[in-house]
């Protein structure tokens, strides 16, 4: 299948005779990209999720890209209402959800129109013909029915009356026509499950649990699902089915995980590892709300969640909890960060631990709530009044969100500082297999609260007397006798902590706060350069890791050398980064913004990095980045 082949998958497909069970030809393939596309109300996300679970359970490596509108239900059948879910699964380790689908399932004309441009010629298109009415075609501007003209000639088209078949199959259940047709997404799932030799039990079990309170709905959906499967099996329209073998991933116990789930688990783990109660103060915002939803389920693990009246109160309550000795956490997206800025500044001045989970989305303003972007980097770096440095951690993949949350908590607790964690919509909703860590291998994050007076003469508690190594101040929580003290947003006297307007003291305190953050220990950046001879380095951060890695594989497969490095600590930057940058003739920095990281690199290292940017609300495609890197290697990249 694969047209946009990743290296490692470019072996010719082997034909395997498989006549015992099926008459259909069975082909083995290394990787497949499937995109389910339909109306927002068609259940495409659920369908995609289910197929993902089956692929995961089978042991494939996988990566997913949900893409849905901000409106809960845009007008049915319109282009703005199209929702899609792309799934890439393979028998080897893959890095991206795939640039283009090998199989496009289009549930209506709008889904076809919105997605067809991404389907390479020669690939499989499965269309639900029932929705191709005159009215629906007109809604999206089709002048003639693409199923009847020759516009779909370049594709392997399968026209299936999914709604009609589903409705007919469900007639014995006595359901209304409308309700029966709603199960057509399960028909599609059944058909695809048959095509790719996926099991049926998992999905059936899932449906029984999902509709446990309405068993008749469970049975109807299962019936639709089986109907789809049987349709593939019994009709002769599908000549070929495909097998994708399990991937040879590192040994371990795996599960499928999205970035937001991993983030929430990381926060739960940070609470357990620090032996502190977790307090999440937050306000619902796309695409971060799932972190709230998940954490609110884990009260039994010492997590308190507080849905505040607004973003400001969310972080305020989290900071109040931190003052009281909890691990304060707030979750949000870019617009929420803007509102929280003043409180983050207060946390910088108070020098208390605080986690700020920013799941970035398209901006400015409300922007693109459900789409991805990396344009909050400079807001996280500099978006506060005064000199207010904050460490920033950026996970590179969905599963890395778990480690990132623990690392961010570690820094916050050790250095008594707010810490940003910059995720984004792509890794928040995207999923991949996760090699579940052994809890015994996770770091100890325990902290020591101040218990005794610490002034030079031992008579008083000085809240701003710092640790020599970390420059962190003591954390004395209310309830500790003898350490009563007042902190606040006014400048404090170095050491003693009383209010100080002294010019020299302010200069010293500003520099001390900066030095504390500059001194945060972070790992060196590692460089992947199999040739050892690359002259071009591609440097990324955050969710671009996958597409950059996939692009590097392609460039190397084409016989060129390129080195890849990925930064996970955006502030402070890895200590070796300057040396790494200096080693390469050319440095390319792809980002989903207008060059924010590139600007930081230029400012800090005086390196003439080449910025490659895109702000389309979607991740980079490996193909496009491969082109950019090829140009860079050949010296054709425009300045």
């Amino acid at each position: 299948m694969s047209t946009d082949t990743e290296v490692g998958a470019d072996l010719p497909d082997r034909l395997v005779a498989h006549g015992e069970i099926r008459q259909t030809e069975v082909r083995q393939t290394h990787r497949v990209v499937i995109r389910f596309a339909g109306d927002s109300g068609d259940g495409m996300q659920l369908t995609g999720d289910r197929f993902t679970s089956e692929a995961a359970a089978f042991g494939n490596d996988l990566a997913t890209l949900p893409n849905f509108p901000a409106e809960i239900r845009a007008p049915a059948g319109t282009l703005p209402g199209v929702s899609s879910f792309q799934l890439h699964f393979a028998d080897y380790d893959i890095l991206t959800p795939g640039d283009r689908p090998d199989v496009l399932v289009a549930m209506n004309p709008a889904a076809l129109k919105a997605n067809l441009k991404d389907l390479p010629h020669g690939q499989v298109l499965i269309v639900n013909t029932d929705e191709f009415t005159k009215r629906n075609l007109a809604k999206v501007g089709y002048e003639s029915n693409p199923l009847e003209d020759d516009s779909l000639a370049p594709y392997q088209v399968h026209q299936v009356a999914m709604a009609t078949i589903t409705r007919t199959a469900l007639e014995p259940t006595g359901m209304s026509k409308k309700d029966a047709e709603r199960a057509k997404n399960m028909f599609a799932l059944g058909l695809l499950s048959w095509m790719y030799h996926r099991g049926t039990e998992g999905t059936e079990q899932f449906l029984r649990e999902k509709f446990a309170k309405k068993p008749e709905l469970a049975e109807a959906n299962i019936l639709a699902f089986r109907t789809g499967w049987n349709y593939g099996e019994t009709t002769e329209s599908f000549a070929v089915t495909y097998e994708v073998a399990p991937a040879a991933l590192p040994t371990g116990t795996y599960r499928q995980i999205t970035g937001n789930l991993a983030l929430a688990y990381g926060v739960v783990a940070a609470g357990q590892l620090s032996k502190l109660p977790v307090f999440l103060g937050t306000y619902p915002i796309t695409p971060a709300s799932d972190v709230l939803h998940e954490l609110s389920k884990h009260k039994g693990m010492g997590v308190t969640t507080f849905q505040a009246e607004d973003e400001i109160a969310g972080i305020g309550a989290a900071l109040g909890a931190s003052f009281g000795g909890a691990l304060g956490v707030t979750s949000t997206s870019g617009p929420g960060v803007a509102l929280k800025s003043e409180t983050i500044g207060l946390a910088v001045a108070l020098e208390l631990p605080l986690l700020i989970l920013d799941v970035q989305r398209g901006g400015p303003s409300t922007g693109l709530p459900t789409k991805t972007e990396q344009a909050d980097l400079l807001q996280a770096m500099y978006g506060r009044n005064g000199e207010a440095p904050v460490p920033i951690i950026a996970p590179a993949s969905p599963s890395e969100c778990f480690d990132a949350a623990i690392q961010a908590a570690h820094i916050a607790l050790k250095y008594r500082t707010p810490v940003f964690l910059l995720s984004d919509g792509a890794i928040a909703n995207g999923s991949e297999p996760w090699n579940v860590p052994d809890v015994a291998d996770l770091p100890d994050l325990s902290v020591e609260f101040a218990t005794e007076p610490n002034s030079p003469d031992g008579s008083e508690f000085w809240p701003y007397l710092r640790d020599d190594d970390t420059l962190a101040r003591p954390w004395a929580v209310p309830g500790t006798p003898g350490l009563e003290h007042r902190i606040g947003g006014l400048e404090k006297a170095d050491g003693r902590g009383s209010i100080s307007y002294d010019p020299d003291n302010h200069d010293r305190m500003v520099r001390l706060r900066q030095a504390k953050i500059d001194g945060v220990e972070v790992d060196d950046v590692t460089v992947d350069d199999p040739s050892g001879e690359a002259e071009v380095l591609v440097l990324g951060w955050g969710s671009t890791f996958g597409p950059i890695g996939a692009a590097c594989r392609r460039v190397r497969a084409a016989g060129m050398n390129v080195a890849q490095a990925h930064v996970r600590s955006m502030n402070p930057l890895p200590g070796n980064l300057g040396d790494v940058l200096a080693r390469y003739r050319r440095v390319v920095v792809p980002e989903m913004n207008l060059g924010q990281f590139a600007m930081m690199l230029r400012a800090k290292y005086l390196v003439d990095v080449r910025s490659y940017t895109k702000v389309a609300g979607l991740p980079f495609q490996a193909e496009e980045l491969a082109g950019v890197l090829t140009d860079a290697v050949k010296g054709d990249l425009p300045a």
Binding site: T253, G300, T304, A308, A313, G320, V439, R486, G488
Partner: protein
């Protein structure tokens, strides 16, 4: 969505805060910071009242926290030798909320002003009251912005000439007590800064109340709004203006109790001479009445000219608090988790896993 019933806690406001038998004095609550309010500022009187009142509670000093926002009054925490946080403008109720939820063993106080609480922080105030957080909010109302040097505030009178309203303010003011009652506050009181006895009594009951207590304190800014409450302090008609509330008593005031509060034709309350209406017509004050209608009507007797100013405790009713409810859920979930033997490893592993086994070569 389903709804579940939450229990009404039968606790006092400070019941979970550790106490001490050691005698305390006002001096014990005095920090080493020099008080820097303007001479004559009403804040001094409030500070003195609070310092002398706190020992009465018998709490461990380290379990008391004062959180403030921004403004003159928000310097308050610096002058008390308890734990304290001088936070940012308007946000003290939000910060106090997180602290109160996570630490039931603390007595959490919010100190705020009319600008801090009602303008920039209005949202946090009403939601803290609505949720019935177990915190005590002292709202210093001097009807002016002092720290920014004399602009009108959300409680300034219409027509007030200030630096930012040279032709007079056209901005209609909030009535803080009405606002708090409208926000479902379970405890609302009011006192005058100079009335130490009355203020202390309101503070005492506010502290003992489990849930959000709002205490409006009329307070003088001698620099930018000098004498704004003088009509309530001196002159021949003070007794005809001030209406002190006594729970369970008919509402009656004046030098000789010659005035009383009666129901008005419009469905509210009004002031009438007792001689005209008779004693039986006077309404009886019941702070514990769940229906806030009468408390609200009392708050409306006083227009911005302070003609009839009610002081004392308008409302004091029991309602579940957010913090008790949130902690009860965590406790119940924790107990269930312990019974089930939940642990982090099981959570991370989840239900749907697959194993990637070592290849024979790897095993060898």
């Amino acid at each position: 969505m389903t709804a579940v019933d939450l229990p009404t806690p039968q606790l006092g406001g400070l019941d979970l805060v550790p106490t001490t038998d050691a005698p305390q004095k006002a001096k014990d609550y005095t920090s080493d910071q020099e008080v820097r309010w303007c001479p004559g500022c009403g804040d001094y009187a409030v500070l003195a009242s609070v310092r002398s009142f706190l020992p009465e509670l018998g709490l461990k000093r380290e379990n008391i926290v004062f959180v403030s926002g921004i403004g003159c009054s928000s310097r308050f925490p610096y002058y008390l030798d308890t734990y304290g946080m001088h936070s940012i403008h308007g946000r003290a109720p939000a910060i106090a909320t997180g602290l109160a939820v996570s630490r039931p063993d603390l007595s959490v106080w919010v100190v705020t002003g009319d600008g801090d609480a009602l303008s920039i922080g209005g949202n946090h105030l009403i939601h803290a009251l609505r949720r019935n957080m177990n915190i005590t909010i002292l709202l210093f109302n001097n009807r002016i912005y002092g720290l920014t040097k004399g602009q009108y505030s959300p409680t300034s009178e219409v027509g007030k000439v200030t630096k930012s309203t040279p032709m007079g303010s056209v901005d209609a003011p909030f009535n803080p007590v009405s606002l708090a009652l409208g926000a479902e506050a379970t405890f609302v009181g009011r006192a005058l800064d100079s009335d130490r006895k009355g203020l202390t009594e309101v503070l005492r009951q506010a502290a003992a109340h489990r849930g959000a207590s709002l205490v409006e304190i009329f307070q003088d800014c001698p620099i930018f709004n000098d004498g704004s409450f003088d009509v309530l302090r001196k002159g021949d008609d003070v007794a005809q203006r001030l209406i002190p509330l006594a729970d369970g008593e008919p509402i009656r005031f004046g030098n000789d109790g010659e005035y009383g509060v009666v129901r008005s034709d419009s469905g509210g309350l009004e002031v009438r001479p007792v001689a005209e209406v008779g004693e039986d017509a006077l309404v009886t004050h019941r702070a514990g009445e769940q229906d806030p209608t009468q408390a609200f009507a009392l708050s409306r007797l006083s227009d911005q000219d302070l003609t009839h100013t009610v002081t004392g405790i308008f409302r004091k009713v029991d309602r579940p608090t957010y913090d008790d409810g949130a902690r009860a859920q965590v406790k119940a979930a924790t107990e269930q988790a312990e019974q089930r033997g939940d642990n982090l490893q099981a959570l991370l592993t989840g239900k749907d896993t697959w194993a990637v086994m070592p290849t024979p070569e790897q095993e060898a």
